[in-house]
Every structure is written in C-alpha cells, then in structure tokens.
Symmetry: C2
Subunit: 419 residues, 2 copies
C-alpha cells in the first residue's frame, strides 16, 4: 500500500531561510541607521546596532515595514508606526532622538526639494490651515494649556508650569517689542487669540489680528466679547496678505513656518508697509533650521501640509533684507520647545489613556508620533525656535541695551526720548 507522503511542514522546512532573510534585512537597516543606538526585531530575528548598547527596540510586525525603512526612513517610518506595523519598546522620544541624530548627517532625499517648491496660494494656504487646525477646538483643548497657545512656551525656569510658561512667553514677546498703552499692533496668524487679547489686556495695545481658521477666529471673538476686549482687539478672518494700514508693531508667532518660502518676499513686503518707518518694530517667532533643508516628508504630508521651517539666513535674505528691515535681536529657544512638547505629550497621553482622544487608533498613534518626534527634533537640534526682533533700517528707536527685558517694569524701551 502506497502510503500518502505527508505534506511538508513549511514552518519547519523554511523557518531558517525566513529567519535568515529577516536577519539580512535588519542588518541592512542597522547599517543604514548607524550610528543610531537602536535594536531591530522582526519575528524571531534581532539585530543590535553596530556600535554601542541600544536605547530602545524597534519591533516590526511585517517585512514590508523593514523594507520601507531601508529604502527611505523619513518617508516610511511615520505611516508604519501609525498603522501599528512598528512598535517601539522603550522610550519613544529617546528612540526618535537616536534616529534623528543618525539621519541628520545623511544626504537628504534628492527629490525632497520638489515638495517645497509649490508656492502657497491663498486657496492652498487656507486648505493647509484647515487640514491641521480645524481638527476641532475640543481636540486641542485636551492637551494644550487653558488659553490654547499652540506655540513654543518660554519657561523662566524648567520647573515652571506650562500655563505660566505660556503667559511668560506672551510677556517676553510684548516686552521685547516694548509695547506701551495706546500703541497699535497687527498680528499675523493669531491662533485662538491669546496673545492678541494679552497685548490689549496687559499692555493697553490696540490689536488687529489675522487668522484664516474660521473655527479659531470664532472662538477668539467670543472670548474677546466675554472679556470686554472687543473694542480694542479686532479678529479678522483673513490671510496676512490682506493686512492694510500702519502700525507701531508687527507680531507673528508660529506662522512663518507655514507660509512657504516662495511667499517670504511677499510677507516681507506686507511687514514693511505695515510698520511706521521711524517708530515701528516687529517680532517673528518661528520654527527654523540650522541650514536650509526640507521638512520631514511624513510630517509635511500628515501634519503640516505646505510647512517649511527656514534657516535664519533665509529669513534675513528673503523676508527682511529686501525691504531693509534689520535684525535687532535673535534668541534661539530650542530647549524651550522640547520642554513645551513634553508637557503637551504628557497631557495628550493622559487624555488618550482616559479614552478622551476619540477617532481611530491610527490617528492616535500618528499624533503620538508627531508630538514625540517633534520633541526629539528639538532635542537633537534638527529643529530650532527663533525669535527675531527687527526694525526698519535707519530707525533709531531700538532700546539702548537688552537689560530692561530682565528687570521689573514694562520691558524694553523702544522710541525712548533721546537725551
């Protein structure tokens, strides 16, 4: 009797071959990511970094996720993580820091510049803003401070609360430009209006604040009415290009990085024509880079379409220089943004753990990655935070020294009477 040949047990026969392939892929990835101190795991295979002991483990659910990272880590990591095809065992921020350090010296994707060449037309500008900021006020209220400031805070010391550090940031801005009662300010990109209201309430300024996000402007207007500040603060639902008139000060906190570099000259023109040529001064607060580079592709696609954090050189050359606006003061607040993001992430994770972050798991993981990745980017220096104070060339109103910024009183004395 011919006995039936048993079907081969593939799990036994092919297992070594499969493990070998997985190991090969992981070693390729480890070489690509060197000197990132990360362990890589897929199935039964594990590969340690070529040098040093690992700070965390990247565990892959499938081979495709490994392959994507070998080909283009910047492009593929985000989706794979959001979809749960990569898990990070250990500290998420530390793992991302290690990855960023390794990738920062690698040649950038040669096609990446393509993404950044599209000028932000007005329609696109609105679409970009709506993509990110119209997720709903409730979502941001879960993890921002109570006044909804979605920009880098200024921590007078690292143990200050986020609430206080956001107020300190607003004061730092107002004191740098030395706002005085009755002065006029235009704000480009005002978010939920906290700074505009602060300038009116604490400094007695008259403020016109621009924002293309309908939901944020509605929120800001309601707050202005509630606080009885709507006679001194006007919220305009429009783009910065619609700014008209002359002001004592121009302020923009966290907008420049969304403008797109093809619009830098136009923005400089708007600023210059808005400022009183003898008394005027301005402040730009923005996420920047150490040198011109495109933003991480995944962040640009998933979180901030159209965003481009510029090098200081680009801001001076393209925004300020052509209109003879001169830098008076630059402060790099990079560590403050890392700390701000840590606060946001802790609040976000608390909300997620309490099931208050609705939507699907992919969304929750994408936002976790965005917050942790941004923190890692500021820690490693892949991103910077610049506050740039400037004035029309030849205007003589700049404060004599910066000492007044660090003393009691209303801040720097712009346009002080000369002796």
């Amino acid at each position: 009797m011919a006995t039936a040949r048993p079907a081969p047990d593939r799990s036994l026969v092919d297992a070594p071959a499969v493990d070998k392939l997985d190991g090969l892929l992981l070693r390729r990835l480890a070489a690509r990511m060197d000197p990132a101190r990360l362990r890589y795991a897929l199935g039964r295979s594990t590969v340690d970094p070529p040098q040093g002991s690992p700070v965390a483990t990247l565990r892959f659910r499938d081979r495709r996720a490994v392959l994507g990272l070998v080909l283009d880590p910047e492009e593929h990591f985000g989706d794979a993580y959001a979809e749960g095809r990569i898990e990070i065992e250990g500290d998420l921020v530390a793992a991302l820091e290690a990855a960023f350090c390794a990738l920062s010296d690698a040649p950038a994707n040669p096609l990446a510049w393509l993404y950044t060449r599209v000028p932000n037309s007005l329609r696109r500008a609105r679409a970009n803003v709506h993509h990110h900021y119209d997720l709903g006020n409730d979502f941001y209220a879960l993890w921002l401070d109570e006044q909804l400031l979605y920009t880098c805070a200024y921590f007078e010391s690292p143990d200050q609360s986020l609430e206080d550090a956001q107020v300190a940031k607003m004061d730092h801005v107002c004191r740098k430009i030395g706002l005085r009662p009755g002065e006029s300010v235009v704000e480009a990109g005002c978010g939920w209006g906290a700074l505009a209201l602060h300038m009116a309430r604490r400094y007695g300024a008259r403020v016109r604040a621009f924002n293309v996000s309908r939901e944020q402007v509605a929120w800001a207007r309601a707050r202005a009415r509630r606080e009885g500040l709507d006679d001194r603060v006007e919220f305009v639902e429009d783009d910065y290009r619609a700014i008209r008139g002359r002001f004592d000060a121009f302020v923009s906190v966290g907008m420049l990085e969304h403008v797109g570099r093809r619009s830098f000259r136009e923005l400089g023109g708007v600023i210059a024509r808005s400022l009183d040529p003898s008394r005027g001064r301005g402040l730009l607060h923005f996420i920047g880079r150490d040198r011109p580079r495109p933003l991480n592709a995944w962040i640009r696609r998933n979180i901030f379409p159209g965003a481009y954090p510029p090098a200081l050189a680009e801001v001076d050359r393209d925004v300020l220089g052509p209109k003879r606006l001169v830098v008076v003061d630059v402060e790099n607040l990079r560590p403050h943004y890392a700390l701000t993001l840590r606060h946001w992430r802790e609040r976000y994770e608390r909300a997620a753990a309490e099931a208050r972050v609705g939507r699907d798991e992919r969304f929750r993981r994408a936002w976790r990655l965005y917050l942790a990745g941004s923190e890692a980017a500021f820690l490693t220096g892949s991103l910077q935070l610049f506050q740039v104070v400037f004035a029309p060339c030849g205007a003589s109103g700049a404060p004599w020294t910066r000492r007044g910024l660090y003393e009691d009183g209303p801040g720097l004395a712009w346009n002080a009477p000369t002796s």
Copy 2:
C-alpha cells in the same frame, strides 16, 4: 596814433557765463543727492536742496570736484575732501548722514561687485592688515582708549566713559559665552591683545590669540609679560587659518569684516574644527549690513582694503550653516558703534588741534572723514554691528535663558549640569 585796444576784462565778460555753468552743475548735483538736505556752493553760485532747509553746506574749491560727485559720489567724495577741494561748513557728521540717507536707496555702482570678488589670499590678507594697522601704535594711541581696543564698545549707558565701555564690551563678550576658570579659548584677530589678556586675568581662561600684525603682536606680548600673564595667554603671529587644536570657545571681535566673503566657508571650517562638539560655543563680533552690498569704494581703497561687512544672512549661510553651527543669540549694537566713533573722533580732533597727529594735511583730513563717515554710517543704518553667539548643532550646553547676562555673577551658564 592808434591806441592799443585794451585786453578784455575776462572777469567781467565771462563771469555770468561761468556762474551759469557753476549753477547748472550744482543743480545737477542737488538733484542727484535729493533728498539730502545739503546746500552746495562753488565760486559765487549757491544751490539749496530741492526740499527742506539745509543742515550743512558743501563748498567746492573747483569744478572738477562737483563733476566727480555728480558722476559717482561714493567714489569721488573721499579724495576730494581729503585734498581740500571740498569743505563742509556746519556739522561734518550731520552732512554725511544726510548724504548717506540719500544714497542708500540709489542703485549701487554696478561695477562695485568687482572689488569684492578678489579672495583674500594669505599674502593679501597680511598686506591688507599692514596697510591699516601698521600705521604705528603711536598713531592709534592718540585716539583709542588706553588698552587700544579698535572695535565697537558696549556702553552700559550712553554717558559711560570710553575706557569703561571698552571693559564692559570685553565683559559682555566673556559673559555671553560664559567663560569659566580653566577653560580654553582661541581668538582670531586679537588686535593689541586686550581681550585675550582680559579673558585670562578676569575669567581665568587659557587663551591662544592670533593676529598677522607684527607690531600689534609685539605690543601684546610685551604687555602679557609685564602683567605676568604670558603663561596663560599665547600670542601667535599668524592667520586664523593656522589655528589648530580643540577649544571650549572661539572668539573673534572685529575680524570677520576683513576676511572677505570668499573666505567665509573656510573660516566656518576653522571654527567648527576648533570647537569641542558638545561643550563648545563661539562669538563673532563684526560690522555688518542690512543686506548684501559692497563697502563704500573710498573706504575700501583708502582705509580697509579687502574689507567686506556682510549681511547676517551671509554669515549664517556661508560661515555657520555649512558646518552646522547654529545661532543661539544675536545682538545688534549699531548705536554703540556710532557713540564709540564719536569718542574716537573727539580724541582725534583734540590730538589734531594740538598738532600731535603728524603726517600731512591730506592724511589728517582722510582720517577725519573716515571717522565722521563711519559714525554717520552707523547712525543712518548704512552699517550695523552684530554680535552673534553660536554653538555646534545638537550641543545642549546653551544657557536656559539670557537673564544671567544682566545679573551679578559670572554671566551665562553654558554647559550647566542638567537636573
């Protein structure tokens, strides 16, 4: 008897024609210089500015001087003034301010870029320095402060003495980079050595200071020996390109503007390789511009051959960015340089009045013009003075805030232990 016909009295016959020509030339000049509020005078002709009342009068000795100014004021004013073919009646600085304001918006000489394209080879660099700085220590001692600091002072208040303000400047620099006892510093372009000695004496630093001017280095070495600091300060008679080794800090005060922009990348390379990648930080103090422009042709030819004061954008793009050195802090001290120059000019004029400035009248007038013109350039914003603090990208030693710079104590806390 035929009487001899008297020779025509040309002064009577041609005078109206001559006056008419002079008036025509002056009106042409007034139009060229508009809106400078200057009166122009040649012979018996006088022309007022098209708008406003004049702040001073330019009196020309000959027609050639007027013609030169009509053709190219930047190019011809200096020589004509030095040679006494132009006199200024009224305040010299105010007259030059008016002229700079008018010319700053005019298109630059289209050939001017030619002058700035020549890279400063080592030999040329030495020649350029010798041209200016080897005029003799005695000459500079006539009008600089007692320590011979030939760079912008930092006046804690406008009524501070020049002597004190130069010491305050050295402290400002040392406190910005937070020098601590035992730390090592390399200084590029050390002049007569005052800052190098100050860093060793007051901050306990070990300093290696470079300068290509033989006379200055000899002076500095003698002073170091006299003060018993020659074990902690080494003066090297060489170019910044000869810097070797690793240091906690890199400092350069008043050299960058003489380096020439074709050498910016090389300078950045020298700085980056000199700095400890985790603890290192640096400071560049230099004369700059609001936007890229060649230096005034006369100054470049007569006072500072090879000089090029850069825009901040050029320093970030060409010196710092390529080596991933990141701006931490920028301070614009423009009004401080105008005041420094006023002090220098007052001392210079006192020395000249007491016949202590030797040499010929042309030299004396050229230096008077250079000092007054530089003061006017800083007053009008044609020149800026930037102090830029930077660190290797990703280094985490920057101070948490700038508050410590304005409080008692040793200045900013770089590389403070993290909590």
